[in-house]
């Protein structure tokens, strides 16, 4: 709780310090706020994948499909059907959650590496659909999405950079999801998840409906990823099929692994670290004068070191990748 308050205060301070107009120059340029927003968006995604990977211990490589699906649903509703933002936002979550059922279904029968392959394929199918349909704008995607508004006031008209409200809304989502996961983790549903993670047959023998709870985890994860996708594309006012791809999925899963499966604080750490680090290294590249981006090399190295030194993640207590 204290961590959540401190975290929120820091985020809000970074977001609004410029609005006070204490100095002539911006303390945090628009670019910083962009990074902050993206970090928060990935925090929500990482948390939502942690419902699947942490709570029930299943590895999914298709999580970005829900992120992108939420984005496309919301983009199409607002652009083609002229729907207002907020209903589209909710519907993006609901549709992603419904699609979570067919992705969760194979998890009832298979697990481990087999499930990784199935979920990977699932994510790629969505990417190819988005590339090949006319309505989704093909490989170029859909530009010019509407900016959300609250009570007729557009998000971008508030604050110095126009990103402030987006940051606050994403922060609220991240905090709500963190609260949600903490509460559920310590409830009877959390017991069911823990039992399934440990031993499915024993869980069933304890009276846990294994199929229902596995699907529930996938549906909850997909719902929150869908919501994030919607807000994210309206922030960029643009969506492209890259958002759905396996690269995104791998990135989110890496954030879960680096931060620590099952750890709520770890999800934030993983998401911020892996969003901020590549941006920081881009600066380093300019300063040192490297001809290549050191990020990809360091990224691989980081993962190897993580797996050797702390396979349960920075803040993880246990791991789905048991030794």
């Amino acid at each position: 709780m204290r961590k959540a308050v401190i975290f929120s205060l820091v985020v809000l301070a970074v977001t609004f310090v410029d609005s006070l107009d204490l100095t002539r120059d911006y303390i945090f340029p628009s670019y910083f706020k962009h990074i902050l927003f993206v970090s928060l968006a990935y925090s929500v995604l990482t948390l939502s994948l942690n419902i699947v990977s942490g709570f029930i211990g299943q590895v999914s490589l298709g999580h970005a499909a829900f992120f992108g699906l939420g984005g496309y649903v919301s983009a199409l509703l607002t652009q083609v059907y002229q729907a207002p933002f907020w209903p589209s936002f909710l519907l993006a979550g609901v549709i992603a959650a419904l699609v979570g059922i067919p992705l969760g279904a194979p998890a009832l029968r298979i697990r481990g590496p087999f499930l990784v392959v199935v979920t990977y394929g699932f994510g790629e199918v969505f990417r190819f659909i988005a590339i090949n349909l006319d309505i989704t704008g093909g490989p170029a995607g859909l530009p010019g999405l509407i900016t959300p508004a609250i009570g007729g006031v557009s998000f971008s008209s508030i604050g110095v950079s126009g990103k402030e409200v987006f940051i606050v809304v994403m922060l609220v989502m991240a905090l709500f999801l963190a609260f949600f996961m903490r509460q559920i983790g310590e409830s009877r549903v959390g017991h069911a998840f823990a039992a399934i993670r440990e031993d499915e047959i024993a869980a069933a023998a304890m009276g846990v409906n294994v199929a229902y709870h596995k699907l529930l985890a996938f549906v909850l994860g997909a719902f929150f990823a869908g919501l994030t996708g919607s807000l994210f594309v309206h922030y960029l006012s643009f969506i492209s099929p890259d958002m759905l791809g396996s690269n995104e999925s791998i990135m989110i899963l890496t954030m879960v692994v680096v931060g620590g499966t099952l750890s709520i604080t770890g999800s934030f750490v993983g998401a911020f670290l892996l969003t901020v680090l590549p941006e920081a290294l881009r600066y380093l590249k300019d300063i040192v004068g490297l001809s290549y981006d050191p990020w990809l090399v360091l990224f691989g190295l980081l993962l190897v070191i993580m797996m050797r030194v702390k396979p349960q993640g920075i803040l993880g207590v246990d791991t789905v990748f048991r030794r």
């Binding site: 409830s187 039992a195 440990e198 047959i201 304890m206 246990d318």
Partner: protein, 258 residues
């Protein structure tokens, strides 16, 4: 009858693991299932507890047809079990294992979980009391916060029984509870089962250790190649020629007699 099976069959492809078993157990009885390795005892347990679906036949639990029920539904109706190869929640503590064992006796859902309602809090208090009682009962109070995988073998077996008891079953299935135990652990287990018997709990167990079976079971069922070959009081079954043959092999010839 608490539990009754009629012509129960389980086939895996061409292999008939359980063949046309008629079986019954009354409330308060202690019955043991014995038989050589691979005779279908554990498969029989898996079918009646709903972990494997039956191929043919019927299972009646408390006069209700539960043949097509999944394991979690059967547990809710009052059947609990342990496993031959211990299936504890290894990285959870002894206390957590028992609390999860209480799952079928609680009813709070997602909403209660999100807002930690009075219902959830009430259940948590009950679970805590029950867990303390059961840890005491199996002598693991001191190991309350020890992870299941760190417990000694005998303690793991006892914890698994406590976890099964947490669901307040009317029928307890024990699959080889003494497997791999040393004589002292077997004695402790025998005392534990006697205590359970005294509370009037109905127990069905699979066991190889004759000492345990003879001391505790009122009735024996003998399996061989998936079929029931004998049934009766322990002393009778011991003298049954078919049982001796199943365990040791057929008598060689009359000339071999002393």
């Amino acid at each position: 009858m608490l539990l009754k099976t009629e012509q129960l069959c389980k086939k895996f492809g061409g292999l008939t693991a359980v063949n046309a078993i008629d079986f019954h157990i009354a409330s308060g009885e202690v019955v043991a299932v014995i038989g050589p390795n691979g005779s279908g005892k554990t498969t029989f347990f898996n079918v009646i507890s709903g972990i494997l679906p039956a191929t043919a036949g019927r299972i009646l639990f408390n006069d209700e047809d539960v043949t097509a029920f999944k394991a979690h539904d059967i547990t809710k109706r009052g059947m609990a079990r342990t496993f031959q190869n211990i299936r504890l929640f290894q990285s959870l503590t002894a206390r957590d294992n028992i609390v999860i064992g209480r799952y079928s006796r609680n009813s709070s859902g997602l909403f209660d979980g999100l807002f930690h309602t009075t219902r959830l809090k009430q259940e948590e208090r009950e679970n805590e009391v029950k867990a303390a009682e059961l840890l005491e009962f199996v002598g693991l109070t001191a190991q309350r916060d020890v992870k299941a995988r760190s417990l000694p073998y005998g303690a793991q077996r006892r914890l698994e029984i406590a976890r099964a008891l947490a669901s307040q079953p009317s029928l307890l299935l024990l699959d080889e509870p003494a497997a791999g135990m040393n004589p002292r652990e077997v004695d402790a287990l025998l005392k534990l089962i006697e205590k359970l018997k005294a509370t009037g709990l109905t127990i069905l167990l699979i066991e190889h250790q004759m000492r345990l079976v003879m001391g505790i079971a009122e009735r024996l069922i003998v399996f061989d190649h998936g079929e029931k070959i004998a049934e009766g009081a322990p002393q009778e079954v011991r003298r049954n020629a078919k049982v001796v043959e199943a365990y040791i092999g057929p008598e060689v010839s009359a000339g071999a007699k002393h």
